[in-house]
Structures are given as structure tokens and as C-alpha cells.
Amino acid sequence: MATTTVGQGDERLKQASMLRRLMGRPELGAVGGAILVLIFFAIVARGTGLFSAMGILNFLEVSAQLGIIAVAAAMLMIGGEFDLSVGSMIGFAGIVIAIPAVEWGWPLWLTILLAFAVALAVGWINGTIVVRTGLPSFIVTLGGLFILRGLTIGLTRLITGRTQIPGLRPLVENDWLAGLFAGKVGYGFMQWLGDLGIIATRPDGVPLASGISMSIIWWLVITVVATWVLLRTRLGNWIFACGGDPNAARNVGVPVARVKIGLFMFTAVAATIFALVQTLSVGSADVLRGQLKEFEAIIAAVIGGCLLTGGYGSAVGATFGALIFGTVQMGIFYTGVNTDWFKVFLGVMMLIAVLFNNYVRRKATEGR
């Protein structure tokens, strides 16, 4: 409520509004959760190597891969839609890159561009069906989930007779575009840290963790760009408006259909980046890649403060959601707990996040 007469009550209420503002941030839960998880494992996983340079880069890489699609999923959720076909898109993009490159000898850069073109088309189709028919995106993209996975398995078997396509690694070496996704950067920086004795080195002086994986760079770049778009651009305002109330948005001239279709295209592109990072660094494509990733991305976005009903959330939140994910997954691995328990943790974590978000949203939107 803010009905006092003009000029009164300002100074007295500043403090309360600071606290409110903090409470009103969607990413609060995820940032808090990430700190808790890091502290927890700092105590429990002491001396296991989780927090060595190698360990940190490991869990960051796991977080990064998920983070790339989680940020895109978060933006789409803010825009009021879901994409359940993300996981299948990862598998599909993998074979779109691998089959022409390995089987038909296409240059890798061309197949990478092809994969992005295919992703844009898939995203456009998903978005157009949802916008045109008004059907829930949940159902439309559930169809996409099965169609893309089926195509991935079917086409791969038809063309290669197998379900795995190895042999990408030698192709990556000499490709100008592949290096953007597969390589590592920061060798000098890691070497410098090693020389200073801050991080562990091999007997020959080369640090164990020799470089920072490109996936981490992509993760950071996408998070920063998405945050900028959401909070500081016209498009960002439109995305919030589309998810908040598409009718009200349309009434003031927001191109709701275009915004939503664009967001679907962005999630498909993010899935392709995920696929590139994974396929090119492992060196092979597999038809089962990316399974269940759509749900992990949504969980990370929800932990990050996105509402399932749209119109609320943040890219930073999704990034921290992914960080919680990666930390716990690797933390469980390093501490030697049976990894079966990871899924239990995931479910519980998501439930807590949803309850917390629900509470925060009520606080944020109801009067005091």
C-alpha cells in the first residue's frame, strides 16, 4: 500500500522497503540455497578434493551445461510457456552435428551451422503451434519431446546402423568454429596459479586443472546477456508482460506472439549449445543424450524463483539453481554417497523451492 499523501512517510519507511526489495528478488532463494549447499559440502566433503581446482572446475562444468539450458528455460517460463522438448533437442542437435560430419565428411563448421538452423526451425514450429492454437505449451512440447527423440534414434539407426557416432574428436582439432564450443581457455591463467602454488600441479609443472572449459564461458555469457535483456531492455519488459498477462500486454501493443515464438527459438538454440559443448568435448554423439534434461532445466529455473504460471523469475536465479544442481551432484560423487540419493535430493529441493517461491510471491504482491 502506498496511499499516504505526497511527501510524507518517505524517510521513515526506507528501511522496510529495502528489506522488501530484497524479499521481492526472485533469485533470493537460489542464491541462499547455493551458499548453504557450498557450506554444507565444504564441511562434509572436506579433504575429498571437491574444493581443489580440479574439483571446482568439475562441478562448475556440470553446473554450466545445465545452466545454459536452465537460463533459456527460465526466460521461456517468465514468458509464460514451457519447453519439454529441450532434452530431445539436445540429442537431436548432437546427431545433426555428428552424422554429416562423420558419415558424409562435411566440415564441422557447416554441420554446426546446420544444427543451429535446425534448432531455430524446431523452436519456431513449437512456438507457432503454441501461439496459433492457444494450446498449453506443456502438451505441444511433450509431443516435440517424443517426436525429436524418435527421429534421433530412428534416423541414426537408419543411416549408421548404430546408436552412437564416435570419431568427432579429430575433426574438432582443425575447425575454427568448433573451438568455440569444445576447447578450454585460460591456460595461461591456470599455469600462473600453478606457478604460484595456489593450485596443484603435475610433477612437470603443468597444473592438474589446465584450463577452463568453454561451457563455463558460455554459461556466464548467456546468464549475463539474459539478465541484461530481462532487466534492461524493451524485450525484457515484453517477456515479463507476456507471462504476466498476455491480454493486458496485447492491449498496450506488445507483440505477444512474436516474443513467445522468439523465446521458443532461444531455448532450442540453448539446447544446441549444450549439445555442441557436450558432443564436441566427449568426441561422440549418442542418441540418448539429454534425456530428462528438460526437467532438470525446469527444476533449476523453479529453484531460481520462476513461477510456473509465468511473469516472474530471473536468469541469475536459474544460474544459481544450476549451480546448486552441479554442486550437489559432484558433492555426492566426491563424498562417496550412493548417487541414487541425488534424485531424492532433487525432488525435495524443488518442492522446498516451490513452497518458498509461493510464499515470497504472496509477500511481494499482497499489501503488507
Binding site: M1, A2, T3, T4, T5, V6, G7, Q8, G9, D10, L13, S17, R20, R21, G24, W228, L231, R232, T233, R234, G236, N237, W238, F240, A241, G244, D245, N247, A248, A249, N251, V252, G253, V254, L307, G311, Y312, R361, A364, T365, E366, G367, R368
Partner: protein, 305 residues
């Protein structure tokens, strides 16, 4: 008053298939005037304003904007020509901040830079939103707070302030007070009067005669798709207006019936007595709120002059 009316509706009819929603409706809105559009449910109020705001195109007749005949292609087209419609429920997005709602669809007004680096100047946007709200007497301490934290009346005011800020010449308010309590409604009514003072034309749709009477200069009554005429405030009394809206007569009959019922029933049944008491209380309450509104109106007139 200016020479040319802001909006002139001439013999407008609108048919939906075989349903005649409007037939031969005419009305004229002048700048600096609050023109109330009254009528019961199904009288055609919504169809008329949707025609004015570019949602529907008239089947027959014409609309003139500042003397020029015009056909609106879309709501956006009407908006760009200075006709802003504030809908009762579709005005605001509760989860978004006041500032973001204020500039929704008009973000260009506060962007800096160009191309890829075009960005919203949130500081300036917040300042403008805060200032515009202050102008109408609502102190928004924090324009980044969600609109959902505002009361219903304040939300309507944000929507109206937004329309005024972006250069609306004609404000169409669709039942802005019908979901509000007396106090909240008076907040909105006060702002309606302020918009008039800025020489805007206001079309105020309502089925609450008391609210209409408090701010209206002219009244057009619709019934079953036809106008029962337009009246200046000095040509008609509130009671006549109420009766004209069809509801008035029925209300009178109802209260007479109830009174009759109470008299004829010698040993008044408790239920009947309760109903009668309730009706009496309601009438008294209404009379009180009328007085309050009338008082406010007098004050507004004084402020204006």
C-alpha cells in the same frame, strides 16, 4: 469549450450476425468534459466503447475524431491517435513493478543508446512513474514495488496516469469504480475530475448513477442498444437518471412491494423484518455515500476553479 468536439459518434450501429448490439447511437464528447455512459447490463455500453477503442468496426454510421471521420484499424491504432481505454480488469500486470507497468508497450520513451545497446533507463523511468503518480496524489514510495501491492483504486489510477502521460486526448474508462469500495472509488473519481481539468475528454462507463453524478457533465443513457438521449447535468436530476436506467423503476417497485409485504403481515416474520431492515440500512448507507461524494465534488470544483 472548444469549437470542435473531440469525438463524435453519428448513428453508429453494430450487428453481430443477427444480433443488433447497437442501433443508431449518437453521442458527442467535448474536451474538458466527463461524459458518462450509463446503462444496465446488456445495454450495449461495452460494444460502444469497443467500437470507439478500435476493437470493433461499426456496421453503420461514422465516428469523427476532432471533426475528421475515422476508422480505427486496431486498438493500437486508436491508442496512437490518442484514444486510451482503461479496462476494469485488464489494465495492469500484478507481478510487474509499477514502473514496468507504466511503460509497458511504450518503453521507447525511456530508452537510451541504440541498436544492440539500446537499454531502459530505469532510473529515469522510476522517477517519471513516481512523479506522475504524485501528480494525482498517490505517493508511491517505491515504484519498483509490484502493482499487486496496490489497492484496486490505485491500480486504476496507474492505468489512467499512464494513458494521460502518453498523450491521450480521450480517456475511456470502463467501469473503473464498479469493483471498488466507496473510499477507493472516490480516489478514482478524484482523478477523473483531474483529467477533465487537463482538458481531456473522458468517457466514463458505469452503471452506478451516484458515481456518474459525482463527476459527470453529460450523461448518455443506453438501453437495449439505443440511446435514450444525452442530457447535460442541469437538464436532469439524479432520480430521473436512475429511473431511466430501467433499474430505477424496478428498485422502487421492489421497495414498495417489501413495504406492502411487511404491512400486510401482522405478526411480521423475523426473516421479512430482517430483509426490510437491511434494505433500509442500505438505502441510508447509499444516501451517506452520496453526500460524501457530493461533498468531494464540491471540493473538486473549488480546486479546479
Amino acid at each position: 469549450m472548444a469549437e470542435v468536439p473531440l469525438i463524435e459518434v453519428r448513428d453508429v450501429s453494430k450487428h453481430f450476425g443477427t444480433v443488433i448490439a447497437l442501433s443508431g447511437v449518437s453521442m458527442t464528447v467535448w474536451p474538458g468534459e466527463v461524459h458518462c455512459l450509463l446503462g444496465d447490463n446488456g445495454a450495449g455500453k461495452s460494444t460502444l466503447i469497443k467500437t470507439l477503442s478500435g476493437v470493433h468496426k461499426p456496421t453503420e454510421g461514422e465516428i469523427r475524431l476532432e471533426g475528421q471521420p475515422i476508422v480505427f484499424e486496431s486498438p493500437r491504432d486508436a491508442l496512437d491517435r490518442g484514444i486510451a481505454t482503461v479496462y476494469q480488469d485488464l489494465a495492469m500486470i500484478p507481478l510487474m513493478s509499477i514502473t514496468r507497468n507504466f511503460f509497458m508497450g511504450r518503453e521507447k520513451a525511456v530508452t537510451r543508446g541504440s541498436g544492440l545497446f539500446e537499454r531502459l533507463d530505469m532510473k529515469r523511468a522510476n522517477a517519471i512513474a513516481r512523479e506522475e503518480m504524485a501528480k494525482i496524489g498517490i505517493d508511491v514510495r517505491d515504484p519498483t514495488q509490484a502493482v499487486g501491492t496496490l489497492s484496486g483504486g490505485e491500480r486504476q489510477c496507474v492505468a489512467i496516469a499512464r494513458a494521460v502521460y502518453f498523450g491521450a486526448k480521450v480517456l475511456i474508462l470502463d467501469e473503473p469504480t464498479s469493483a471498488l469500495g466507496v473510499k477507493q472509488a472516490s480516489v478514482v473519481l478524484r482523478y477523473v475530475a483531474q483529467a477533465r481539468a487537463r482538458n481531456l475528454g473522458v468517457i466514463f462507463i458505469t452503471h452506478n448513477v451516484h458515481h456518474a453524478w459525482a463527476v459527470g457533465d453529460a450523461f448518455t443513457v443506453l438501453n437495449r442498444g439505443k440511446t435514450l438521449g444525452t442530457f447535460r447535468k442541469d437538464e436532469i436530476t439524479r432520480e430521473q437518471l436512475l429511473n431511466m436506467m430501467a433499474g430505477g423503476k424496478e428498485l422502487e417497485e421492489l421497495s414498495a412491494e417489501l413495504a406492502e409485504f411487511a404491512r400486510s403481515d401482522g405478526r411480521r416474520q423475523p426473516a421479512a423484518a430482517a430483509v426490510e431492515k437491511e434494505v433500509a440500512e442500505e438505502l441510508e448507507e447509499e444516501a451517506q455515500s452520496d453526500e460524501r461524494l457530493a461533498e468531494q465534488e464540491r471540493r473538486l470544483r473549488r480546486e479546479e476553479s
